[in-house]
């Protein structure tokens, strides 16, 4: 590795990392409680769910696709898991095990179905997942009869509230997912194939690989991550509700895009997505701490999303110059 390539790989995440550091410094200066252990622990808890969904979403966006259904699939997976946990009178260990499996499998299936339909009929994922958004939401409402499901086993509820050295367990799960995501994307054939397809699907096909297979798997991964996020949601709030997760897809997409992943595919990273989710979380927490009103907070969040992406374009230009 020469100096140039090292600088380049550092630069890749530098823009977004710099933005995050800037935000943290800014909030730390404006409010003395921002950098306390308990507040940081809170932020980590608050970004976990979005991080897991966004990690799955990264695979799909790297392919040049999108998954709009994650919010609804989250609700459906949560409702399915919650039903399994509460309605079959299983002993609590079994109930939890089957509920977790049920949620993840449910999410994976939704993703796989979306992906398969996209590939079979060559429809853009925007449309297919828009359909899935409605199907999953409707099914969730049907399954739960529009009610909030509660009364999970005590051990399940207690686990969700646990922290290890002030780090919430659901954040640890999120970090593990991100690390797995980084390894898969960087070190495996499958990961390299995702980038290759995102850059030029035709050339992948001509080189004798079948892009369809890889793409369907990516949607299944995204769905599976969403199913896991549903379990995290239940751990955090100890309820499942069929109307939860409305708009979560936009938060996840925002995290991925702030993290420097191109919506056209082929360019981006899992680490960037993680940093993007951090920015969203820090922003939400910090703006409230400094005491801004609801509407101002929404405006500033929007501005920061755009600024982060603008910053990123400078980063890519610099990178391009270095490559020359």
């Amino acid at each position: 590795m020469n100096t140039k390539s090292i600088t380049r790989s550092l630069l890749k995440e530098a823009g977004i990392g710099l933005a995050l550091v800037l935000l943290v410094v800014l909030f730390a200066l404006s409010h003395d409680k921002f950098l306390t252990v308990s507040n940081i622990s809170n932020i980590l808890q608050q970004i976990s769910i979005n991080t897991i969904i966004a990690a799955g979403m990264t695979f799909v966006i790297l392919l040049g696709g999108i998954d709009l259904s994650v919010g609804s699939v989250l609700a459906l997976s949560a409702v399915v898991g919650a039903k399994i946990m509460t309605e079959f009178g299983l002993p609590s260990d079994m109930a939890i095990l089957f509920a977790v499996l049920g949620s993840v499998i449910c999410g994976t299936l939704c993703g796989a179905i979306s992906g398969a339909i996209c590939e079979k009929w060559r429809i853009h994922s925007f449309i297919v997942t828009l359909g899935m958004l409605n199907i999953a939401r409707g099914t969730a409402l049907e399954v739960a009869d529009a009610r909030t499901i509660f009364g999970f086993p005590m051990s399940f509820n207690a686990f969700g509230a646990q922290t290890i050295f002030h780090i919430p367990v659901i954040f640890i799960v999120a970090v593990v997912i991100v690390i797995i995501g980084i390894v898969v994307l960087k070190k495996t054939v499958y990961g390299r194939m995702i980038y290759a397809i995102g850059n030029n699907e035709e050339s992948v096909r001509l080189s004798g690989h079948n892009p369809k297979f890889y793409k369907i798997i990516a949607f299944a991964i995204c769905g599976g991550a969403t199913g896991l996020a549903a379990v995290m949601y239940m751990l955090r709030l100890n309820i499942a509700n069929p109307i939860l997760g409305v708009g979560f897809e936009l938060n996840a997409i925002a995290a991925v895009v702030i993290g420097g992943t191109s919506l056209f595919g082929g360019k981006g990273s899992m680490l960037g997505t993680f940093l993007g989710a951090c920015i969203m979380g820090v922003l939400g927490n910090g703006l409230l701490l400094i005491g801004l009103g609801d509407f101002t907070r929404q405006i500033i969040t929007g501005v920061v999303i755009i600024l982060a992406v603008i910053l990123d374009t400078y980063r890519s230009r610099l990178e391009a110059k270095l490559t020359e």
Binding site: Q45, A146, F150, I243
Partner: protein, 315 residues
């Protein structure tokens, strides 16, 4: 336009069945989001009532995908006008946007009853609705005041409280906030913040967690609905402050009843969702049979406290 025509055709297809029952009045109910637990209860209540009274009227109902789906409501009313039904009870998703459609329905000779959320008085007058147009619904402001007042009575003087609001701009969210503010003022509470969590559990959880960081001295929480109470209670638990912070909510949904049993929620305001649309249909039938009803027919609200729940006989 195309959609309207399509709607008319679809309705026409269903028409032959309702025409046969011409002597019995046909009652149509336009509700809000059936994805909302509370509205699901409203729907079940009114459907049961309609079943029991099959001999008196025929019935159909429509709900929305989400709380702000104004178009669907307008289309539904247009459809009911085309269908020439006799009574329409409508819970407007927006207190102004539905007025022109309601006016058209009235011009077509249909009895219209406004329930749940009151139409904007000024706009209603401007668009030619009667000055004292009938409204059947709960007094959200009074209900919230009751809950807030009960909270205040259970807190020390000048206690620090926060309000968790519903969707900004939603009529019932505004009224409930007004009720809570009145409780704050009348009892000289110290209001630290009033913020929205958009009726949503997860958002309320995040909001409350962050509010607790900013104001570690919070003693009481007034939440505009019970879904948000669920998130608030989890945030209080996570902060290790269970028992130190008292919470009141609105809607009295099942999971909150459980929390009240455990003593984690102080009180919630029940406004009898099961009867809400039923009362509107009853009022509509009265007008249809010639009675003159105007003004505000208040549907009951009742404060349910954790003591009430704990004293209840085990089911």
């Amino acid at each position: 336009m195309k959609i309207k025509v399509l709607g008319a055709i679809l309705i026409a297809l269903g028409l032959p069945f309702s025409v046969q029952a011409a002597e019995k009045p046909h009652v149509c109910v336009v509700m809000k989001s059936l994805a909302n637990e509370f509205w699901r209860t409203v729907e079940i209540g009114v459907r049961d009532y309609a079943k029991e009274n099959q001999d008196k009227f025929t019935f159909e109902a429509v709900g929305l995908k989400n709380e702000s789906d104004i178009d669907t409501q307008i289309n539904a009313i247009e459809g009911y006008i085309t269908k020439q039904c006799d009574v329409i009870a409508v819970a407007p998703a927006n207190s102004v946007a539905l007025i022109p459609s309601i006016k058209r329905a009235m011009n077509a000779g249909i009895v219209v009853v406004n329930f749940d959320v009151r139409l904007d008085k000024k706009a209603a007058q401007q668009m030619g609705l009667p000055e004292d147009f009938l409204f059947v619904g709960p007094d959200n402001k009074l209900g919230a005041f009751e809950a807030g007042d009960y909270l205040a009575k259970n807190l020390p003087k000048n206690a620090n409280v926060v309000i968790i609001e519903g969707n900004p701009g939603a009529e019932n969210a505004i009224e409930r906030k007004e009720g809570y503010i009145k409780a704050v003022n009348d009892n000289n509470l110290n209001l630290l913040a009033s913020r929205t969590a958009h009726w949503e559990t997860e958002e309320a959880n995040t909001l409350m967690t962050n509010l607790l960081t900013r104001y570690p001295n919070i003693q009481g929480v007034m939440s505009a609905n019970d879904s948000m109470v669920l998130g608030v209670v989890k945030a209080i638990e996570a902060a290790g402050k269970t028992g130190e912070i008292k919470v009141v909510g609105f809607d009295f949904i099942a999971p909150v009843k459980q929390l009240m049993k455990d003593g984690k929620v102080l009180a919630s305001e029940d406004f009898f969702g099961k009867d809400l649309a039923v009362n509107a249909v009853k009022a509509g039938m009265k007008i249809y049979s010639g009675e003159n009803l105007t003004g505000w027919v208040k549907t009951p609200v009742r404060l349910v406290t954790s003591k009430d729940v704990q004293n209840e006989m085990p089911e």
